[in-house]
Symmetry: C7
């Protein structure tokens, strides 16, 4: 999706949506040699940038999201709404679509 | 959809529907040079014009909508009901289809 | 659908159904000149003629319909059950399918 | 569906089912002239012959049907289970599929 | 489905299932003349042989089935699980799939 | 599905799953004559070997399964998860998929 | 899915997700002879490495997962989200997708 946003920080996800940015794969080996582009795979890891207030359960109560800004998460292979701000790409997932937290 | 409305202001969305107008992309560069039409992309940002009273939860209580008139929102790539009033185009979305609020 | 009804007034919608009649587009310009037929578009505006008693929520309580006879409404592009009485055409929609009220 | 029923009166619909018989279109004009068969359209009006005790809501309580034997109703264009008893044809609809009552 | 059952009586339907046997169409006319096989249609009438204890509603309570052994019922044109015991054929339907009771 | 299980007894079904083994059709006639393989049909009867603790209803309470180990049951023509342990084949069904108990 | 994880231990499944690793089939016979690769079948047995805190029931309460880290489980033939960490492969299943516990 195309936006004219100046900064991704102006985006506040609604309901149970979670704004993430995919973590870029390293393009150099540990020894500092640049990898050929075909060897750089897109990772399914992402950093949580912003989290909506939570969706509603069937009694109209907010459900607390499972993640918080700053969390590193495992995202599914498919799905999510892509957003482009300048040259950077982001995605919006629903809270329950995120697979796992990554603790480091 | 075609209407004979004199003004979009006469439209009061029902239930959880939200009336928005897509924000037009700039057709000039910052320096004032006109962009060729092919370089002007349709934005997924929209301004909320009117909001329905909210849908019903399963106990028959109204659910408060997540947005209010005047809000700027990120709309999904597909979906929504297009409405034409005069030369202007508008869309109706359901509250939960809106992706994020845009704070400026 | 074909009926042998003498008058549309004999039709009492059941549950959450709403009987509407599409508003006919003007076939003359403001200045009184007749528009060619190809320029007359079918409008998505309709007048509510009759409203059912409301559907049931999951606890068996009637849900009050959102519109009332006499209301002008925006109807969706597709859907509804068409009914023909004499030369006139009407439609039955479910309450939640109606998009917006039109206030004049 | 084929039955060996002697009379349609022996049929007691179960749950929310409603037994109706389509009203036959007139095959003569008001002036008594017979219409050619191609001009006789099948009507979407039907007479209610029998009504089941009502389906169950999610708490196991019976939901009162919207129609009663003797009612004239508008039936949908498609759907319903056709039943043939002798030369006569009948249909079973679910209560919520009936569109409107016809008051005369 | 193929079984090695000695008697259909050993079958006790589970939950909301109902065991029925289709009533065979008469192969003779009232006057005793045998009908050609092509004129003998399969009937949608069946006799209830056994009824399960009932399915559960959403609160875990058993829902009383609508029919009892010995009832004659109208079965839908399609559906049901066929069972063969010796040369005889039977069917298992879910309670809510049965269309009507036949009172004689 | 392939397993390295030493014994099927080590398998404890989860939630509402039921472990069954299909009953083998007789390959001899009552008089002791071997049937040609083409005449031996796969039966839809199975013996219950193990039963899960039951699924959860919508209030989070366990629902008691309908069958117990040792029960003989009628299984549906299609469905179930096949499991192979050594040369023997077993299946896992969900409790509600089983059609009937077989009482002998 | 591709990750840059250093260790699978840094993965904490969300909601009702369960992280498992498939048990490798033996590549030698009991007598110590190596099996040809075509004779080594992928097993549907897996070891549970980590378990999410549980999904929510419809009243917003956590549902206790059926398995715990260290459990050996039977996994379905299809489904699950594959994850690769270094040369090792893992899968994420939802709790209710696991078929059985394997007790040894």
């Amino acid at each position: 999706m195309t936006t004219a946003l100046k900064s991704i920080k102006s985006l506040a996800p609604l309901l149970d949506r979670v704004l993430v940015q995919r973590i870029k794969a390293q393009t150099k080996t540990a020894g500092g040699i640049f990898l050929p582009e075909s060897a750089v795979k897109e990772l399914n890891e992402a950093k949580v940038l912003a989290v909506g207030p939570g969706g509603f359960d069937k009694d109209g109560k907010r459900m607390t999201p499972s993640v918080a800004p700053g969390d590193k998460v495992l995202i599914p292979q498919y799905g999510g709404s892509p957003i482009k701000v300048g040259e950077e790409e982001y995605s919006l997932f629903r809270d329950h679509e995120l697979l796992a937290k990554i603790n480091e």
